[in-house]
Amino acid sequence: MAPTATKASPAELLRLYAGMKLIREVEQRLAVMFGDGEIPGFIHLSIGQEAVAVGIAAALRPHDTLASNHRGHGHALAKGLDVSRFFLEIMGRSEGYCGGRGGSMHVADMSVGMLGANGIVGAGLPIAVGSALAHHLRKTGGIACVFFGDGALAEGALHESFNLAALWKLPILFVCENNGWSEFSPASRQLAAEPSKLAEAFKIPTDRVDGNDIIAVRAAALSAVEAIRAGGGPRLIECKTTRVRGHFEGDAQKYRDAGECEEIGRKDPINRAQEELRIMGVPDADIAAADEAARRRVDEAVAVARAGTAPVPATALADVYSPRVASKTAGVRP
């Protein structure tokens, strides 16, 4: 582990803070727009979990690949997606990342290794395992990373993926965002096992961190990624975090008590990073400037997305299949 990993310089922490603040600003705006009927379909917000996305992504390189899940806005933005094209996709515009075919649950940008959010719980794990196999066989020097919630710990595909990745010593970082909720049910009613012990059963080294502490998440990620790049095989980081909003927007959360929601405010990763910045002596004006930059970026993106065009039905069938191309390896007979 790099000696500086457990600490961050003021400038570095300010960058991490700005990354979290952008995600928060994006999702708060999405919540308002969803409430106003501007966003179709379902959106699942990661408010309160930003430190996981930003802290992990800080250890990844552009050609590292990332598989995400239904609560994936933060992962996508932290991996470097453009905010305007992100909003365009979530609003179902043809200029969006997926031409309006995917929406919130399928945002992807292959150019930065973002292999997609995913509407199926646990489905990103095997995809990331396969991408790790591709990194290994193609000797790219890259690694794969996958984010999943504690709810995915009950999925069979997760156990199969842990086993396969460990057997083949693949370059993959598993990141469990343990927010204690599987949709509308508490973890206590979902899983008989301790989350971190599951991966250890497959001999995957596991680190447990406070997922609302951006510096701790980044430190764990740097350490794990270094070990993975060195050929050490898969690692798991379990990040204990908090889901502030409901399972999806519009979820009244009648299953949660008020005490828990109050406690959430004290754990907020962005407030905590802000306090840390002040302790480090970063001027309030610099923090305010980061806040303002995030707001401006989102204002611009929303304006661009509102001006985007709806995809026309004449283009609907494009990309169900790839364009026909001449045979690459085999001669074709009629």
Binding site: Y97, D109, A123, G130, S131, A132, R138, A157, T329, R333
Partner: protein, 324 residues
């Protein structure tokens, strides 16, 4: 020309593709050391090494899911699912991931993967090792499905499947693995979506695929003695299927029977006759007739399985209804 078995032709296709393209890798349960349950991948581990010929744990969801991620990021994986019945365990990876990635990501990425899977009965393997589930997969936009009936097409369709930029399911009938045929030199791929006329005839068109092609030909030989000249079309590809070729044949024979080993209800035959009832209506001089297994799980006992699987007698009876 060389005479090889059906399984050997697939082995040759895999080997030739791996030889020409280092991104082609094999994944599956016992495909390496054991050479596959039907011997299809025998010798490939030794020739290409354990990095590219990978024995996997019994984890269909992870194997097929990993193939999706590998295909999205630069490999061309070929997965063997030991029996088609086991594809049930990998349906998320196929239906929600492989089939949709290109579309739902707006054309950013293709998923060039192949999943080979043996279907069909005749070896008393019982209800969970004998099913023909190809209609499920042909029903999913984004997937392609092929099903060879002979040695030459087995080679050609496996090459075409590996070459294809989209996920392709290669359905291999277990009863065909030991059949022999000539493999022409040079060997080549055949375009996916093109049917083959297995027998030219004028009185009725028998549309079929896979192991039912020899059954259709046997029925045609019997019918010939009765003065009925049947044309037999081998679809080779089920998704997409060659509607043009079927319509062309129907426009000459004006009678049509579709045969498959899969259950008749909601099957490949249902789609074909429904299309032709529309696009071929003016050509029809008789009912469109289907032959398939009865609507029940494949039975184990030999006496029951023999009765369950469609045979030439059932095809002949169907033809007589079609031309009545």
């Amino acid at each position: 020309m060389s005479e090889v078995r059906f399984g050997q032709a697939i082995n040759r296709a895999l080997a030739d593709a791996m030889e020409q393209d280092s991104s082609v890798v094999l994944l599956g349960e016992d495909v390496g050391e054991a050479g596959g349950p039907f011997g299809v991948t025998r010798g490939l581990l030794k020739r290409f090494g354990a990095e590219r010929v990978r024995d996997t744990p019994i984890s269909e969801a992870a194997i097929v899911g990993a193939a999706v991620g590998a295909a999205m990021t630069g490999l061309r994986p070929v997965v063997e699912v030991m029996f088609m019945d086991f594809v049930t365990l990998a349906m998320d990876a196929l239906v929600n991931q492989a089939a949709k990635a290109r579309f739902m990501f707006g054309g950013q990425v293709s998923v060039p993967m192949v999943v080979r899977m043996p279907h069909g009965g005749g070896i008393n393997a019982g209800p969970q090792h004998s099913q023909c589930l190809e209609a499920w997969l042909a029903h999913v936009p984004g997937l392609k499905v092929v099903c060879p009936s002979n040695v030459e097409d087995a080679y050609a369709l496996v090459r075409a499947a590996i070459d294809d930029d989209d996920p392709v399911i290669v359905v291999e009938n277990k009863a065909l693995y030991a059949t022999k045929g000539e493999l022409p030199e040079p060997m080549s791929a055949v375009p996916i979506g093109r049917a083959r006329t297995a027998r030219v005839g004028n009185d009725v068109t028998i549309v079929t695929y896979g192991a039912m092609v020899p059954v259709g030909l046997a029925a045609a030989a019997v019918l010939e003695n009765e003065g009925i000249d049947a044309e037999v079309l081998d679809l080779r590809s089920l998704q997409p299927w060659d509607e043009t070729a079927v319509l062309e044949s129907l426009s000459r024979t004006h009678r049509l029977v579709v045969c498959h080993e899969a259950v008749e209800a909601f099957g490949i035959g249902a789609e074909i006759v429904a299309r032709l009832a529309d696009t071929g209506f003016d050509e029809l001089d008789g009912p469109l007739v289907r032959v398939g297994a009865p609507f029940m799980p494949p039975p184990f006992a030999k006496s029951l399985e023999d009765w369950y699987r469609p045979d030439a007698g059932r095809v002949i009876a169907a033809v007589k209804r079609a031309i009545a």
